[in-house]
Amino acid sequence: MKAAPFEYVRAESLDHACQMLALRGEEAKLIAGGQSLVPMLAMRLLAPAWLVNIHGLAELQEISVVQDQLVIGAAVRQCVADADPQVKQSVPLLSKALHWVGHAATRNRGTVGGSLAHADPSAELALAAALLDATLSLKSARGIRQVAAGDFLVGPMMTCLEPDECLVDARFPIWREDRSGCAFEEISARHGDFAIVSAAAQLGVDQAGVCTRAALGIGGAGPMARAFSDLARRLVGTRLEEALLREVAQEAAAQLEPTGDLQASAAYRRHLAAVLAKRALLGARRELVLSP
């Protein structure tokens, strides 16, 4: 369980990190908190010739609200995002997702961008990004581009990041509905371990209680976290009756193609997906009732 030898460089700036990637290409890997990367190095699933440390870069540490988006720098540590009042207030679903990410000891080092770029199919932050349709900024020496989370995640541990690109920030839409509610549900062997399945939902309604906006997503039950925007759109204009929410949850689960492993069979994952999606939708609706 020891990483293969590599050359180490601490990036002085984001531009420096991008130059290193431009120079070394596939041979280099960025390291921030290392909470996903170091195990892969230890197991020698990866053996890059160069590691470029971006953990301390001030440019990647900011959390801000810019118009209708919460912008989180890629190297913001998960514990910092978790404790940030702006995050909780503007995108409460993200706060709820963070609560399920790893353990205190891993959240103290692990970063928001690191989890997104690692793209584990069961990662909570990837699920939150996919379902809220977050936009990710990717920078290289060639320039900067923005991609939707749904296009960023392309498979298990796979993203659309080119070898010379660095994830710079994630921009989560802030909902400004009259009232909104959200919920995040997960089953794992031990709280903080990888999700067997997770599901999350966010609902918005007008003064009369009619749904104006809806989002639903499921993680851990396919190659990547998945949003069900077509199904969620079906809720808009309704009063979010329980029977309808159940039906949407069932249909979402039916669209998945989970695989089985030591922890859970494919059939069990599909079952969990339906149950958790239903709980997430009902939980989000419950918050609507409770909110003033």
Partner: protein, 161 residues
């Protein structure tokens, strides 16, 4: 071919220390092999068991998931740093002994660090809070109950002091 080494300087348990190590040396290996501080245990070496937990600038982290070179100049506290200045056991350590919170002892350094970091933030934790605090530390012997009892006992003793 010998591997290139890098000079790493840290503050460990209040002392300035340094060592020449390859970049791939994790903090746990740096502590154990370079500094001979073998109180911190290496279990799974990939972030699952929590045996290697230490404090980085006062916050618990897994020392197998960080390379020593990444921490240049930072403050580390290991289990050796928990005991009293004269080397006798801290209240928490003594409570682990009194409440039979260890059997093989493999998980103990990580448990102590996680528990101490909880008590530093929260002097009167509930059972639930204790369980959450040690939830990232695996113990294959005790069944956890004695560990929860030990942390409660330590909190009571500290309150009385």
């Amino acid at each position: 071919m010998s591997e290139e080494t890098i000079l790493v300087s840290l503050e460990v348990n209040g002392k300035q220390v340094s060592g020449l190590v390859p970049a791939r040396t994790t903090l746990v290996d740096f502590l154990r092999d370079e500094l001979r501080l073998t109180g911190t245990h290496a279990g799974c070496e990939h972030g699952t068991c929590g045996a290697c937990t230490v404090l980085l600038n006062g916050e618990p982290i897994r020392s197998c998931l960080v390379f020593a070179v990444q921490l240049e100049g930072q403050k580390i506290t290991t289990v050796e740093g928990l005991s009293q200045p004269d080397g006798s056991l801290s209240i928490l350590q003594d409570s682990f002994s009194a409440a039979h919170a260890q059997q093989c002892g493999y998980c103990t350094p990580g448990m102590l660090i996680s528990a101490q970091s909880l008590l530093d933030r929260n002097a009167q934790p509930s059972d639930e809070e204790i369980r959450v605090a040690i939830s990232s530390n695996l113990c294959r012997c005790t069944g956890y109950q004695q560990i929860v009892n030990a942390v409660k006992l330590a909190a009571e003793r500290m309150a009385r002091e």
